[in-house]
Amino acid sequence: MLQTLQISGTAALAPTLVLGVTALLLLLIDSIDPEESSSALLSGVATLGSLVALAAAGAILVATGGEPQSLFQGQLVVDGMSLFFTFIFTSVTTLVTLASYDYLKEFRYKAEFYTLVMLAATGMTLMASSNSMATAFVSLELASLPSYALVAFLKNNRGSVEAGLKYFLIGALSSAVFVYGISLVYGVTGSLQFDAIASELGNTGEGLVGVLGVGILMIIGGFAFKTASVPFHWWAPEAYEGAPAPVSAFLSSASKAAGFVIAFRVFTVAFPQSTVGVDWVLAFQVLALVTMTLGNFAAATQENVKRMMAYSSIGHAGYVLIALGALTGSANQAFVLGAGMIHLVVYGFMNTGAFLFIALAEYWGVGRTFEDYNGLAKQAPVACVAMTVFLFSLAGLPIGGGFLSKFFLIAAAVEAATIGTYVLAFALVINSALSLFYYSRVVKAMWIEDPVGDFEVGGYPTGLYAAIIVAAVATFLLLPALGLFTNVAVDAAASMIQ
């Protein structure tokens, strides 16, 4: 471990601040000449901002070695966990903003788009480091509200608007549930700060365990919404299908990760299994099982690639939920959490990449069904190779980091060595077999099938291609180079659990 130098106070929040400032900067740039704002400049600034944030996060992580930094009387904490996820958010944001350069060419209100993305990213980074229910709720909303707008961004596209509506309504409902849960927990423990809650749990009154339990389950509801897990997943298929593809990429990767990081922190710090009298592990096991099964089975027979990806993203939420469902007393908790975190990192790249490829297809005006992708490899081999990497990595074949991370999750479930986790492990086996089937349908369409009509792709957009190729390379390199993250993840998890 290299020596940990203290980074005082707000400096530790650099990534968050950078993102927020970038958002405002974008608005400023736009306000100079709203009509003629160059998309290159906006996209450039946004990308640069998120890159800087990425660099900052990395720098702080290396510098402090993930030493927890408590800020604002412990309302926020910057530690390995938060920085790790900040890395995920910012890298996804970078890819998305980069790709949006081409995607948004025809649209107006580009600046607003980038601003909203930036704000959402800011919210996510805050979620990652929020250490109390208050900050958690506020940052969660800060991440959600821009997302609603982003999903509905194509104002004249019925699909986009419908998606936005559904996302918003379910979101509002869920946040209401979330807050109510918080209020109940507050009622029992009399505090909102995670560690304080944990310390209070010991001396809760007899009758209050029920109240606490209801509260905890409602909080789970709030996170389930963010991570698109059953039974709060309903928004996801429509939102991902209807939204502009870069937004779908952003939500399905970053926003999901944000939901998980806050869940990790809340349930390991605030409601540790040892003290809390509520069996939330079982709850998560059930959710994981139902989520992955529903997601994959529903994805299996889709005709629309984007919707298939939406369901598959639900399925992956189910996979990662294993990281919470396997936090049994016997388990090696750092291993379990670490596996989840690693999968989220890889997922951040491969899933974003897949959605960006769909964005590319939309850009070309290729249809959305599997048939429309027939013979695409003849037209755009490079992009199709990238897409193949993404899909097979998602399916857990050793062409990208998704292979290792998925198997780490299975290993975690086995390691926990309880009936429940074994059930999860086998469920994952069946589901990923199914997922292999539907992912390879896309690959089949691209490489094996012959094109239906003689279709010519319109140009090779730089930004999208760059983003896709970067994502593909990252996904591929994460197979041999996953070691860069495993240590960090496991250490972060360990230091958070103590």
Partner: protein, 527 residues
């Protein structure tokens, strides 16, 4: 280090081939694939390793560098060859160039992609046989699926998409289940292992560290993980009744791919069975011996019967592969020098022989454009050389002495007949039954040959049937010569195999037995 050079040669070669123009891809790939061949032969020439890699034997040509660590478990990139893996590496590197050569005629579209994928597959195969860390091994193990999926799916026959996805998903499920099994084993070892290295795990089990976990007896854990892993590998082998992906894959795959599928891919399953189930958990293996042996015999007889019922030459050979793999299972479960050694030897022998058979069928198909027994006859008068090779291959398959097949089968029979894993000579009985396969195999091959090769020439398809090009026929005779060489001097491989399988038996004598007793109590009525 040499192993890494081979891998690098294949991977770089694959990339080069991908970008090469289709015209030259075939020749280019052939040239590239000669590098690993030379390397492998050099390794064979200079090999002086001893013992079994999993029992700390001296392995060669490998590397061991830390890869990543995960909550107290060290994953390292660890490769190395011992007497059991080197023959299979040689087999792969020998078959690939021949397969590439035999692809020149049938593969007429997207050649550069085809040959690139073949080279990718070679890399994965070499990796599978040389990896000594579980995750590294598993990466290669699964990586084989990807090129195979495309090779079947893009260049295959009419039902190629169905066959490809079936192969893909079926074997993938198997690997996942096997993964759970192995993880169960490793985690049950607790702190006694801090890595997924195969030697470490093996020796930890041999040292009796398979303790109780969460109130579950170590022997029960061993049983569970054995069964899970066995299922996983049995699909790959394949063992009846998990074999149904094979005929579809074979029939749809283009000839060169069938050659590799039968020649090397099936051996992955038996190799893994040997390395994992039968080396790590000999106690369980011996307690379940009766089931395993019966499965092996069933594969032999049932597979042969199925082959007897087929009209498609490729299907015949495909099912006969199932049959031959059954012998390997018998040899493995016997736990005798000749059994284990013969099984490994038979892997190589069958690799060459089935490769030869598929190539011959392919050459016939290239000229007649049919594989149906009823659609042709009297080929001997039109394409004598191909037919000569085909006859040679068929007799090798029937276990003609002084050809590789006989050596392998005889070693297995001798080993498993004398085996004592089952009470009152049960193994001898099962072996005797399974040996009837040598009659059935003669039956279906001779019938097929009589109807297709001999008699008046006739072909249901309107093609000018004449002797195939040199580059089609040459690989056939190369294989014939190799088969005869291996059959007359089995020591070529059998010696190193013998030495490498010795430690397994020593372990059975010492460590394995304890596990047997404790497990016998758990299993109760199994015997």
């Amino acid at each position: 280090m040499l192993v890494e050079l081979l891998l690098a040669a294949c991977l770089v070669g694959a990339v080069v081939t991908f970008v090469a123009p289709d015209r030259v891809a075939g020749k280019l790939a052939l040239g590239i694939s000669l590098l690993p061949l030379v390397g492998a032969l050099y390794m064979y020439a200079t090999f002086d390793g001893s013992g079994n890699a999993l029992f700390g034997g001296a392995t060669m040509f490998g590397e061991n560098v830390a890869w990543l660590d995960l909550a107290g478990y060290q994953l390292s990139y660890h490769t190395g060859l011992d007497g059991l893996s080197l023959p299979l590496v040689v087999l792969s590197t020998v078959l690939i160039p021949l397969a590439i050569l035999s692809a020149w005629t049938p593969i007429q579209s997207r050649q550069s992609q085809f040959y690139g994928l073949v080279l990718l597959m070679e890399a994965s195969l070499i990796g599978v046989f040389s990896a000594l860390d579980f995750f590294v091994w598993f990466v290669f193990w699964e990586a084989v699926l990807i090129p195979m999926y495309f090779l079947i799916g893009v260049w295959g026959g009419p039902r190629r998409k169905y066959a490809a996805i079936k192969f893909f998903v079926y074997t993938n499920v198997a690997s996942l289940v096997m993964f759970i099994g192995f993880m169960t084993l490793v985690f049950a070892l607790g702190d006694s292992v801090s890595s997924f290295g195969l030697p470490a795990v093996t020796q930890a089990i041999a040292a009796g560290n398979l303790g109780n976990v969460a109130g579950v007896a170590g022997s029960t854990i061993a049983l569970v993980s054995f069964v899970l892993m066995f299922f996983g590998f049995a699909v790959k082998v394949p063992i009846v009744p998990l074999h149904t992906w094979l005929p579809d894959a074979h029939v749809e795959a283009p000839t060169p791919v069938s050659v590799l599928l039968a020649g090397v891919l099936l051996k992955m399953g038996t190799y893994a069975l040997l390395r994992f189930n039968f080396t790590m958990l000999p106690g369980v293996a011996q307690d379940l011996a009766v089931f395993i042996a019966l499965l092996g015999a069933a594969s032999v007889i049932y597979g042969a019967l199925l082959a007897l019922a087929q009209q498609d030459l490729k299907r015949i050979v495909a099912y006969s592969s199932v049959s031959s793999m059954g012998y390997v299972i018998l040899g493995l479960v016997a736990y005798t020098q000749y059994g284990l050694g013969g099984a490994t030897f038979q892997m190589v022998a069958h690799g060459l022989i089935s490769g030869l058979m598929f190539m011959c069928v392919g050459v016939v198909y290239n000229t007649t454009h049919t594989r149906m027994v009823g659609d042709m006859s009297g080929l001997a008068s039109r394409m004598p050389y191909t037919v000569g090779a085909l006859i040679a291959g068929a007799f090798a398959y029937m276990g003609l002495p002084l050809m590789a097949g006989f050596a392998g089968e005889f070693f297995i029979f001798r080993g498993s007949f004398a085996s004592t894993v089952l009470p009152n000579n049960g193994m001898a009985l099962i072996t005797g039954v399974a040996m009837f396969g040598i009659v059935i195999v003669a039956g279906y091959l001779l019938f097929a040959m009589q109807r297709t090769l001999f008699g008046e020439f006739f072909s249901a398809t309107e093609y000018d049937v004449r002797e195939a090009a040199v580059h089609d026929v040459a690989p056939l005779f190369v294989l014939v010569l190799l088969i005869i060489a291996l059959g007359t001097a089995p020591g070529i491989f059998f010696e190193m195999i013998w030495n490498a399988s010795q430690p397994i038996l020593d372990n059975v004598q010492s460590g394995g037995e304890a596990a047997v007793e404790s497990l016998a109590t758990v299993l109760g009525g199994v015997r």
